[in-house]
Amino acid sequence: MSKTIDINLVRHVGKLSRIELTDEQVQTFAGQLASILEYFDKLQELDTEDAEPMAHAVQLHNVFGDDEPACSLRPDEALANAPQRDGDFFKVPKVIGDS
């Protein structure tokens, strides 16, 4: 496992995370993320061969609700916080090109 997070990797993770980064942030984060990841590597000292991965503290499976119709948010409520809307739609920049 690589402990050196280079700036290209930080840029790549920024892209995956959908967060634009300034050059200065890339530099700062590279150092900080590297030291945190290095700390995470401490877990490699532990033998976990026989440990069942635990995703959750409560063992509940297949929780079903009653099949009863109920109201969900009305369009007006759902759209009330939209940064931009057009009637009953959320408005975003054009996604598909002209050609």
């Binding site: 967060i19 634009e20 995470f40 000292e45 976990t48 959750h56 929780v63 759902a78």
Partner: protein, 502 residues
């Protein structure tokens, strides 16, 4: 100080129910206190005075008509700003949600109001509950009422400071890795994280979904039991809430603890533990021995707290916790896209990905970005096994340690924090050092257990020291009883911070 402010929530409720004090007077008493003291503390993101007075008036009307107004009738409270409320804004102390108005109410808040509580406002926090000092808040940091140059802890620092400074009778916080217990310890109040699933998370803005839990922050243990009663219980709106009937914690609170076995985890009392905090807990151990409890030594090897060669704190549990919490956070916070709600960049963007990326860059603070990026990285192809999967396995080992410990004891007694309140700005440049502030609390979240922090005296510098009591899953009543036993034996409670002594 004003009589209203000096009463516990329970005492105030009784006086309001007996109509010795009106709910409107109680609310006004706290609103006046907020006006006077809040500028020095900064505990709130919003104070909702008008609505609070209206609600208080309704409580008085119910009482005047001879109706029962509920177990929290007229009690002025505050709730952390990551709890969705259909009144005011729900900001998570983030620029991302600065104007967000939730279309629904968190179940825990709904239960408070149904019980007659009056919500005074929403409290400040680390942005999206990511932090241990309330300094990552987009608003401004909250200050510790014991020393305003120090942090109140976090992420529920606003709730802790508000309770300590008598800006509300009680509050709700949320705890993902210690975010109720650590600020409670640093502000000298009681803070309780119930068992994962005991309190519905519906309407709690998600951070680490397998770890998050809502809980009360109060001035004494009885108030804590009262609030636990009110907010607990299964909720069809949260499929991870436990379908078990919660106990009446308040009714059982003064039962004797004779012959109860209290376990001291050896790994928490290592050389790494601060001397003054150690001394406070040892003194509490003697109090428990006198009350007839049996003290046993137990072991939590995978939660061991050490100091490395440079004197820095270290624990497997911290590494495990941050991998799990950041992975979950990176998924949960993907919803902030600048489209459906929340901040959207004002700049013109040429495509949708640019819109997402720029809106998120502008809307999130540095710590939130760090965690999203680390979570994204540890979940990414090629690293998943080394980080996330490894952490899930270590989480199992941590949980197994607790299971084994509870075979020889009923509850655990341990420190809440490695230090008392630290100075503002002291740890902000070094994220990893900040993460160690939760070193004694995070394994409890990983295992999903109930844990409470109660005041255990003051340090020589006059700062509160907290101690933590942890029980097996769903043992809320026992945990509160053990906490109450120490308090009743003369332990620290209802501590008055320096700020109010003038």
């Amino acid at each position: 100080m004003d009589e209203i402010l000096s009463l516990s929530a329970l005492e105030l409720r009784d006086k309001i129910a007996a109509r010795e004090i009106s709910a409107v007077e109680a609310t006004q008493g706290y609103l006046d206190a907020i006006e006077k003291t809040e500028p020095q503390v900064g505990a709130f993101t919003q104070v909702l005075a008008e609505r609070a007075q209206e609600r208080a008036g309704e409580v008085d009307k119910r009482l005047a008509a001879g109706h029962d107004a509920g177990p929290l009738a007229g009690v002025p409270m505050a709730v952390k700003d990551n709890l969705a409320t259909p009144f005011g804004r729900t900001t998570c102390s983030s620029k991302m949600l600065a104007e967000f108005r939730a279309p629904y109410c968190a179940t825990a808040v709904e239960k408070l109001e149904a019980a007659g509580a009056v919500i005074l406002g929403k409290t400040n926090m680390d942005e999206f509950a990511m932090g241990s000092s309330t300094e990552t808040s987009h608003h401004a940091p909250t200050r510790n009422p014991w020393d305003t140059a120090r942090v109140p802890g976090g992420s529920s620092g606003g709730s802790a400071a508000a309770v300590a400074a008598r800006l509300c009778a009680a509050a709700l916080g949320s705890d993902t890795g210690g975010s109720i217990r650590q600020p409670a310890a640093l502000c000298g109040v009681v803070g309780f994280k119930p068992t994962y699933g005991r309190v519905s998370r519906f309407g709690l803005v998600a951070f680490g979904s397998s770890l998050d839990q809502i809980g009360p922050m109060t001035r004494d243990v009885s108030d804590c039991a009262l609030l636990t009663n009110v907010i607990s219980g299964h909720d069809p709106k949260d499929s991870t809430s436990v379908p078990a009937e919660p106990p009446d914690c308040l009714a059982e609170i003064d039962q004797p603890i004779e012959n109860l076995r209290i376990g001291l985890p050896a790994e928490f009392f290592s050389d790494a533990l601060d001397d003054e905090i150690n001394a406070s807990i040892r003194q509490a151990v003697e109090v428990y021995r006198s009350a007839g409890a049996r003290i046993v030594e137990v072991s939590l090897p995978h939660s061991r707290v050490d100091r490395d060669a440079d004197g820095k704190l270290s624990s497997y549990a911290v590494a495990c916790y941050y991998i799990v919490a950041m992975a979950e956070a990176s998924s949960n916070l993907a919803r902030y896209d600048g489209v459906h709600y929340g901040h959207r960049t004002a700049e013109k963007t040429s495509d949708i990905v640019e819109l997402y990326s720029r809106s998120r860059a502008e809307g999130f603070g540095e710590e939130v970005k760090r965690r999203i990026m680390l979570g994204t990285y540890t979940l990414s192809a090629g690293y998943y096994d080394a980080y996330y999967n490894k952490a899930m396995k270590v989480r199992r080992l941590i949980k197994n340690d607790f299971d084994a410990a509870f075979e020889s004891c009923d509850v655990l007694l341990c420190p809440t924090t490695p230090t008392t309140a630290f100075a503002l700005g002291e740890k902000t440049d070094d994220p990893l050092t900040m993460y160690m502030a939760d070193i004694y609390t995070i394994s409890v979240n990983l295992a999903g257990l109930p844990g409470i922090s109660i005041p255990a005296g003051l340090s020589k510098a006059g700062l509160p020291i907290g101690m933590q009591i942890v029980g097996p899953a769903l043992s809320e009543s026992a945990v509160l009883r053990v906490a109450r036993s120490y308090e009743a034996a003369g332990g620290a409670s209802r501590l008055m911070p320096q700020l109010l002594k003038g």
